[in-house]
Structure formats: structure tokens, C-alpha cells
Subunit: 185 residues, 4 copies
């Protein structure tokens, strides 16, 4: 029975590296993969990870109908930046998993820098058959689970995802910094 898996982690934890490793493992066995990433300005159809590896992939946006995507011969669906999926898209990915028996692995953040759960992440956290964490560390040495904006917070958009604009923090550091930074929790 195929599974819908959500691998979450803070900014810069290595989610895309993991996605690329899974793709590599499948392709090494002669199996095809279908890789998707979100249509954002920094990305022209490649998943690239900070270790320096990258790979061509298909762009999805809020209108993408995964039920209509031709997956005829893909053995697995891999979706990066999955926090930007809509709830309906997550339901559809659940259907593809259970009714078509194709595994779907999604990779993404859990919360925005304000601490709000993304729509896609909420649905994935609620419906996925398996939740896996990729960990990274806070500057204090503890495990980081939250994100803080390092630049002017003029851009309040939760979709403003340039990796260089954020730092991953543990909840304690995040609470203390948020307190002083004016984010209302």
C-alpha cells in the first residue's frame, strides 16, 4: 500500500537534499520519478540544494490539478516546497496514493515566520501516513523548529521564501526574538 509522506524541517535543514537523494535512489533502480516544485521567483524549474546538487523538475502552483497530471510511468511523486499546496491538492495527493497506489513524498516547512501553519502543511500534517522530520540547529545549539526574518519585515508575505532572508531558531530563541521584534503571537 503506497504512502503519502510529509517530510518537514526548518529552513535550511536539508529538505531538498533529501528529495534529491530519494530521486537518485529510485533512478538508480531504473524507476522513473515525477518531481515538482513551487513556482517562485528564485526557481526556474530546478530543485537545487545547498550542497550544490540540482535536478530538473516541474513547476506547480495553486491551480495545478494533480489528478490531471500524466503520471503513467512514474514510480513516485516528489514535491518540494509542499507548504504551498492547497488543501484540495493535498486531498488529491491522498487519493493518488491510496487509489492509484503511487507513493507521494512531500517536503516542506511547517510554519511561517509568524508561527502560522501553512495551508498545505496543515493538510499534510493531518492526512499524511507518515511524518518525518529533518533537523537543523539554532545558533544556541538546540534543535531549530521555527523561522525568523533577518531582513526588514516590510514584506509580510508568507510566500516570500528566499533562503537568505531567514534564520532557523529553536522555539525559545524565536519567542524571545519575536517578543522584541514586534511579531504578535
Amino acid at each position: 500500500m503506497a504512502k503519502l509522506i510529509f517530510t518537514y524541517g526548518a529552513m535550511n535543514a536539508g529538505k531538498t537534499t533529501s528529495l534529491l537523494q530519494v530521486a537518485h535512489n529510485y533512478e538508480e533502480r531504473g524507476l522513473k520519478t515525477a518531481i515538482f516544485t513551487y513556482n517562485d521567483c528564485d526557481n526556474n524549474g530546478s530543485c537545487f540544494c545547498r550542497l550544490g546538487v540540482s535536478k530538473k523538475c516541474t513547476i506547480f502552483n495553486k491551480e495545478t490539478d494533480f489528478m490531471e497530471v500524466d503520471l503513467a510511468d512514474a514510480s513516485i511523486l516528489l514535491i518540494d516546497e509542499a507548504q504551498f499546496l492547497t488543501k484540495q491538492q493535498v486531498f488529491d495527493l491522498g487519493r493518488i496514493t491510496s487509489l492509484n497506489d503511487v507513493p507521494v513524498m512531500c517536503f516542506g516547512l511547517r510554519t511561517s515566520w509568524q508561527g502560522n501553519v501553512f495551508e498545505g502543511s496543515s493538510a499534510l500534517l493531518g492526512l499524511a501516513d507518515e511524518l518525518r522530520e529533518i533537523r537543523t540547529i539554532c545558533c544556541c545549539g538546540k534543535r531549530a523548529t521555527m523561522a525568523m526574518k533577518t531582513q526588514s519585515t516590510d514584506n509580510k508575505s508568507e510566500e516570500d521564501i528566499g533562503h537568505d532572508k531567514y534564520v532557523s531558531l529553536c522555539r525559545k530563541c524565536w519567542l524571545l526574538s519575536a517578543k522584541s521584534g514586534g511579531v504578535t503571537l
Copy 2:
């Protein structure tokens, strides 16, 4: 560093049994526990599990301010039916964990019988330091992750939680039953 932990599982998986076991383990060490459950009609201030064990606990509702609860000497907070927490209550529990260094363990469902993530569960799944699953099985033998109402669906409330009114299903059985049962996914 204390942790906020969310232990989720489908209806009748044994969440309350787990909560009672944790309480037992703490109390056996001479440590105090603070146990909360949701104010619903079936429950007059006890956590009871289907194995037949029960224990006195404090009732919480949507208005409970956990920041004001006197936890002076409790070594851990245990919260049953945690899906009914508000987002603000979950934020407060995160603060208690990180700033007061008291561990908080929440136990609850992820989704309603319509497949919607509960408010408290969404916040917990997004913010918890650790997510743990307690598993149970579908009538088909597969792992159950969803709930289906077994009685007339006149009562559309997502807070209608009598355990005898639901059956836990795997997503495939749930999708097939939901299709015929008129639930719009």
C-alpha cells in the same frame, strides 16, 4: 530543555491509555502531574481508557487560560482530547514548555470524520517539538488513520465525540465509504 509533544492517533487507538501510563510513570517517581481533558458531556472530570483504567483530571474548555493555571509543582502537563484546544492555547502551551521548562504532552485526533484538521491539532502538528503516532487498524487489516461516523450524520458537529459513534478506517476504505456516504471531500 522541556518539549511540547503531540501524540496523535485515530479514534480508539489507545491515546488515553498512553496518557495514563505516562502519568503512572511520573507518579511512581514521586513527581506530580497536571492532567486535563476537554469538557464534553460524556466526561465528568476523569480520563478513562478502554482498557478499564481511569484517573481524576481537570476539565479545560476553549476559555481556559493555561498561562493562569497554577502549575507550581507539576513536573509535566498532560492534555487529553487536545484536538479541541484553540490555536492560542497551543501557543501558550509552547510558551510554558520553552520559557518555564515544563514538558507538555498532548494527546488527540488529527482530523474530523470529514477529513478536516482540528484547530488544536493543526497548531500542535505545526509547533510541537515531537510528533508521535499511536496506531490502530482498519477492518481491512491496514493501519487506520481516518474516522467514519457509524450513525446517522444528522449531527454534523465535529465536536460530537462519543467513541461508539465512529469507526477508524484506513484512507482507502475511508475514501471509498465517503464517496458513497455523501461526504464532500
Copy 3:
């Protein structure tokens, strides 16, 4: 595909409670279970947990041939005190899982009070499809993973398993106590 699962935890973490909950969940669905526990002096054919629940089960010892046990209609094998399995018995349980497609769940300790991995636990940790931990706490409040004898260590046997003779400790407390207690690590 059925799985071989090893659920481990320190003394008094609640392993038998978990086993009984799984049995309950299966039987509630009308499915049969086959429950085994080790032939030790404290136990006359019942799994009993510290929460006060118990259940009849079959005794196994080092000579039990699980390949010969009649499992015709059991939907799951549940094995308590699994640290006392032999390596060969674990291999046989792997065969039953993979070739007969019957799930096998084993519950047990990882290490003796001297810090040695039990034969059965080593094989299970090496071969199980899934490793799950049941946690408990040390007297210092940290997670306990080790066991210390609380009585005279005249009985050096690693099979001397009366629960009242041990206390579960975190590794730091165990290392400090072992240092003074004369256990050579």
C-alpha cells in the same frame, strides 16, 4: 506487506500496557491474536501490566520453535519479554512476517543492567522493519534508557527480571552510579 516491529523501552516504561492495547484493538475488530511471554518464575501464563490489566498468553522459552507453532487464524503475533528470544527465533519471526505475511510485534528491553545488548534484542534491533521506543523517565527527570539493580548484585544473571529489583536511569545517572557500584563497563 506485514512487518516485524520491535518496541523497546527501559524497565517499567509500559511495554506490556502497549502490548495489551494492541491486542485489545485487534480483538475489538474481531481479529485473533497470539500472545507469547517468556517462561520466568514470576509469570504463570499471563501478561500483566502495572496499570492493573492482564491477559492469558502462551509461554515461550529458548527451545520454542515458532515455525512449528500453529498460527492458522491469528492476525498478529505479540511477544513480550522479547529480549530473551534467541537469534534463531528472531530469524524465524522474520520469516513468518515476510513469507507468511503475518505481522509480528515484539516488546522488550534493549540492554541488561550491565549495559550489554540482549541476544534477542540485538537480532531484533538489526532485523526489525520498524523500531519504536516507549519512554520513561529517570529520577533526574531526563529520559531513562538504562537499568540499574537496586538490590545486592549477588545474582549476576541477566535473566533475573523481577521489576522491583531495578530502577530505570538516564545514561548519565547510570554511568555515575555504575562507576561507584563496581560494574565494569
Copy 4:
């Protein structure tokens, strides 16, 4: 409290990729890492992963005394091919973790191609504070947990670790192939 973590996975699952990602995450924060790998013929002091990334590291062998290694300013110890550690070395790594409060992350196989648990893996599986799995797939599409030699089995050594000489299989495929291949289980 620092942790001893064992991340295990079948051959070619991506264990070294994960190690390199962790190192990257620490170094990005300005924290020093101490990386070790086993002294085998294919390796002259670099961890290299199949995605094409590599990194200088220190060689360990069965005689390395980790208690004597100068870790003064390393924020984490990362050990690749950890299955080749001795039991004593694992005990020492546990001491470093608990008494010096330095986290230690070990990456390795669980079992040899004959299905035997490696000495280092047995000790790590028994003593680690956390066990994590990195998954890969069998040619049948199921999760691979075992290794089969693809070349002549003249070299019976369990330390013969060239990645090109093995294929990762699920236990069912491994049992069926082992049956015909003359490995006595």
C-alpha cells in the same frame, strides 16, 4: 543534554549524504565538526556521497581511542561506517555524549550481507538515545533493509564494503535470494 544518535540504513540509502548535510548545517552556523570514517581501502580520508559531494575527515580503526581524541572545540562528532566501531568504542562515545555533553551522530549499516548484526551496530542500537532510519528501495519497490552480495562470495569478510558489490533488498527478496544463494541463515 547531548544525544548519541545512530542513523542506520541499507547500502546506498544516502547515509553519507545525510552526514554531510549535518556537517554543512553546523558549519553554516560557525560551529566546528569532527568527522570520522573507517580505514578501508577505498577511502583516503574523505567522506564522499553518491550525489557527488565529499569532505575531508579523520580515519578511525579498531584501535582508535575516542577518549583521547582532541575534541576541544568540536560542537559535534560525526562518524561514518559506524558498524565497524567496537563495542568499547561505542561505550566511550556514550560517555563523551553524557559526561562531556557533546552530541555524537553515527551513520552505518545494521547487518552484514549474511544478516548478522555488526558489533558496532549492535552496541549503537542498544545504547543510542535515538535511532533514525534512512530508507531506500528494493528492486521490487518495497523498502530495502538487507544487503546481498552481487559478486562471487569468495570474499566472506563482513568488512568487504565496496558499494558496487552489493544490492539492497527487502527481507522477502533477500530471504528468497539467500535461500538459493547458499547463505545459511
